[in-house]
Symmetry: C2
């Protein structure tokens, strides 16, 4: 198991008896970890890399429901089947898998394992609520700004103002419910306002956090338009 990744600080390890149940697998970009509608037999834990929880609609559109980063647990459900699919977002993504029934059985007497489940549930709620507030914004710039701030927050362990976006512009667009072009234009506009710097498309640096927060919190800024 590769434990030398720079994001290890987010990881929490389970009791040895549970860790012994784990099998670790490596996935390549775009590879399916589990398919939407499949039986929910295992629980998962991101060790390194990045994964997307997403829904493929009847119309063929892809909707990203959640970005899963190192330390995140996923695959929890009350149902027997997964409502959403999960696919790796970058090559070499390492995922630990635990048999669900066994995991839940242990949770009935091991408080630390039960706590993992509880915290995973509340963590999911927290991410979902944050995402709701991001997506619910009216302007695309507000969405992108809020998204950048939320990503910066999830990398808060080190250099909160400089981080790598592990996902493509397409993933971001599907996550925010706007088009790829609009994501690009919003980023360009933030660059032109000297609010952020972008190095090589994936590395983002927040220059003016107050300004970014203002745009994210308040869509109705006076004369804020990128088109003219």
């Amino acid at each position: 198991m590769n434990r030398g990744s720079p994001r290890d600080s987010n990881l929490r390890y389970l009791p040895p008896g549970v860790e012994a149940l784990a099998t670790v697998a490596s996935y390549r970009r775009g590879e399916e970890i589990y398919r939407q509608g499949s039986d929910a037999l295992q629980l998962y834990h991101v060790i390194s890399g990045q994964a997307c929880k997403c829904l493929n609609t009847a119309s063929g559109r892809r909707r990203v429901v959640d970005f899963l980063l190192p330390g995140d647990y996923f695959g929890f459900t009350i149902l027997d089947r997964h409502r959403f699919g999960v696919e790796a977002g970058s090559s070499g993504t390492l995922i630990a898998r635990y048999p669900r029934r066994e995991f839940e059985r242990i949770a009935t007497w091991d408080q630390s394992v039960a706590a993992i489940i509880r915290e995973a549930a509340f963590g999911t709620i927290s991410r979902l609520q944050t995402r709701l507030l991001i997506v619910g914004r009216v302007s695309a710039q507000g969405k992108v700004s809020a998204f950048l701030l939320s990503m910066a927050g999830r990398y808060s362990d080190r250099t909160p103002d400089r981080f790598i976006l592990p996902m493509s512009r397409y993933d971001i667009a599907d996550y925010l419910g706007i088009s790829v072009e609009t994501v690009c234009r919003a980023l360009t506009h933030l660059k032109q306002r000297h609010t952020i710097k972008v190095v090589g498309a994936r590395c983002v640096e927040i220059i003016d956090r107050a300004g970014l927060t203002r745009i994210a919190d308040d869509d109705d800024l006076d004369g804020l338009r990128w088109a003219g």
Copy 2:
């Protein structure tokens, strides 16, 4: 306690020892049940009526995070303070309140109470994910159609195709992240297409569920525009 409401079938009662802790209060439309940022000292349960969990942004905009209907529990948080406020959506809304610490203490040994908390958490996750998929749609008509279907689903105990919208158009607009006028226009357009009937602004009947589902699932319908 008024237990004669037509929505009682959704209610689950707790063990007598826990019910004894409850105090029931009635709220009028717009009245605050708890304020955003206040100390999280109690847990809540909707008996009848309707409530809105909402956030007031720095810019003065109101964002509805969740609609709370009879049977829903709310007020759960891992933090000490409420991130969102909750206000009653209609006059005469009855809310049961339980002291949080006591409730959680009982949950450590009473499985049925612990199950309430667990189910409340998963129920919240489920509602949030549904809401995400609704709000994430690209067209306003898709959002409104999906919203109607989700509301119909929450009243599934009886007459799934005919139900009362307990919230105002403004609440719906804040929930969907679109303007009130757009909500009205989308409803008008659905009426003109004979997809739904609306009686007196609050009573909705789904005429063509397949059509509504198609609009909700698939935004890219051929030539689907209300403006011409």
